[in-house]
Amino acid sequence: MAKRIGMEVSLAVAEAVKLANTDVIAAYPITPQTHIVEHLSELVADGELDAAYIPVESEHSAMSSCIGSSAAGARTFTATSSQGLALMNEMIYIAPVLRVPIVLAIANRALSAPINIWNDHSDIMSVRDAGWVSVFAENGQEALDLTLISFRVAEDPEVSLPISMNIDGFTLSHFIEPILIPDQAEVDKYLPPFKPNLKLDIKDPISIGLLGAPECYTEARKATDNILWQSKNHVVKAFDEFNKVFGRQYHVVETYRHEDADTIMLMMGSIAETAMTAVDEMRDNGQKVGLVRIRLWRPFPEEELLASLSKAKHLAIIDRHAILGCSSGPVGLEVKSLLYNSNLKPNASNYIVGLGGRDVTRDDFKYIFEKASSGQVQTRCEFVGVYE
C-alpha cells in the first residue's frame, strides 16, 4: 500500500527515481536542484538504489553522459536548473534527434543576469524548441507522479524521446508536502523495464550520430517533429494507465471553475495553486473567473487548449519568462498564435509575473483579472508589479 508522508518535494522526486529502478544518474549540483541529486546520492550510497551515479564535472557533461548511457540501454535520469540547463543547451538539442529516452527534472530557476537563484521559467523556455516532451508539475504529488510517468512516456518504444519534468525551484522543490509514496509493486506494474529500440549493442552494432547533409537534415528534423506531436497520445495513455494503477487522473490541460467563466487565467506550474485560491475568492464575490493550466507544454496541446478556452471572452495569459524585445512571453506567443488560426477570439493579453522568485500573490491574480476582464487588449505584455 502507498504511504502518505510529509516529505520535501525534491526528495519525493528522488524517491520516484528510486522506485523506477533507474540505472544511471549523471548530475552536477546547482541550486535549487541539489536536494534531488543529494538524496539520490544517499540512496545509491545506502544501496537502496542500485545505480551508477556519475558525479560529472559540468552540466554539459551530465547531459552528454546521459545521452551515452541511454544509448547504451540504461534507464537514465538527471536534474538541473537555470545556468546548468543553459550549459546543457547544446546537448539538449541533440538528444531528441538521436531518440534517446532521458528523464530530466528541472527545478526551474531564473537565468542570469543578474545572477539569481530563485524561481521563474526562463531556463526551460531557452530550450523549448529542442524537441523534448515537457511537462510542468503543480504540487509535490504531481512532481512524484510525473517523474514516474515521464519514464513511461520517454521509454515508450513508440516515443523514445527525452522528457523534462519541471518543478518550480524553491516554491515547489523545497516545500514539504504530504505525499503519497507508491508501493514498489504498484510502480513495477506501471513501469515496465526499459527495452530500448535503439542500442549500442556489440551483438548488433549500429552507428548513432551521423552527419546530416542538406539532402537529409530537413527530413531528420521533421521526423523528430512528427514523433514529438505523436507523443501526445502516448502521454494521454500514460496518464490514463497511471489512474488505473494509482487512482490519480491527470490531463494534458487542467481546468478549474472554467465552465461558465467569462475570464480565463491561463498559466503553468505551481502558481496555479495560489491562483485557484484567488479564483475561489473572486468567485465568492460573484466574478466569473476560471483557470486553465498547461501540464503538457511540449508537444503543445492545441486541441485541449482550444476546448478549454471555447467560452472565454477575456483571456489573461500568464508567463513566468519574458522574451526581451518581443511583444509576448512564450506562453503568450503560442496561445495567441493558436487562437489566431481558430474561430475563438477572446480578448487576449499577456502578463509577466514572478520573475527571479518574486512572489506571485492572490492580489496579483485579482489585479490581472481586473485588467483582463475590462476587455481592453494590451498588444505588449505587461510586467506585473514592476517598479518603474
Binding site: 531518440r99 534517446v100 549500429i206 539532402e215 527530413e219 531528420a220
Partner: protein, 104 residues
C-alpha cells in the same frame, strides 16, 4: 508528400529511428575514383612483408596467400577504394610498387 526542392536522400517516414546507419556501410561508397595514380605491384619483387597492408589508410590491401601456393604470397590493392596516396609504394622495402598515372 510534397516534392522535395532538392534531391532528398530519404522520405521522412523512411528514415531509421535515431538517424542511424548500418556498420561498415561506407563500403557502398567507392573512393577509387579519387585516384590519379594507381599502385602497380611487381610480384617478382614482393616479399609478402605486409607493409602495404599495414600502412594503407584506406585498408584496401588484401592478403592473397592461400596457405599453400607461394605464388599467391602477395597483397592486392582493391581499386574500388584505393585513393592513390602512394604510402604503399613509399613504404615498400623492395620498391615493388610503382605509382602509375591513371589513364583517362
Amino acid at each position: 508528400m510534397t516534392k522535395p526542392t532538392i534531391d532528398a536522400l530519404a522520405k521522412v517516414g523512411d528514415l531509421p529511428l535515431g538517424f542511424t546507419a548500418k556498420p561498415g556501410s561506407t563500403m557502398d561508397f567507392k573512393t577509387g575514383d579519387w585516384r590519379s595514380v594507381r599502385p602497380i605491384l611487381d610480384r617478382e619483387k614482393c616479399i609478402h612483408c605486409a607493409f602495404c597492408y599495414y600502412y594503407c589508410p584506406d585498408g584496401v590491401y588484401k592478403d592473397m596467400y592461400d596457405g599453400k601456393d607461394d605464388a599467391t604470397k602477395y597483397f592486392q590493392a582493391d581499386y574500388d577504394y584505393c585513393k592513390g596516396c602512394g604510402i604503399c609504394a613509399q613504404e615498400c622495402p623492395k620498391k615493388a610498387i610503382t605509382m602509375t598515372l591513371e589513364e583517362v
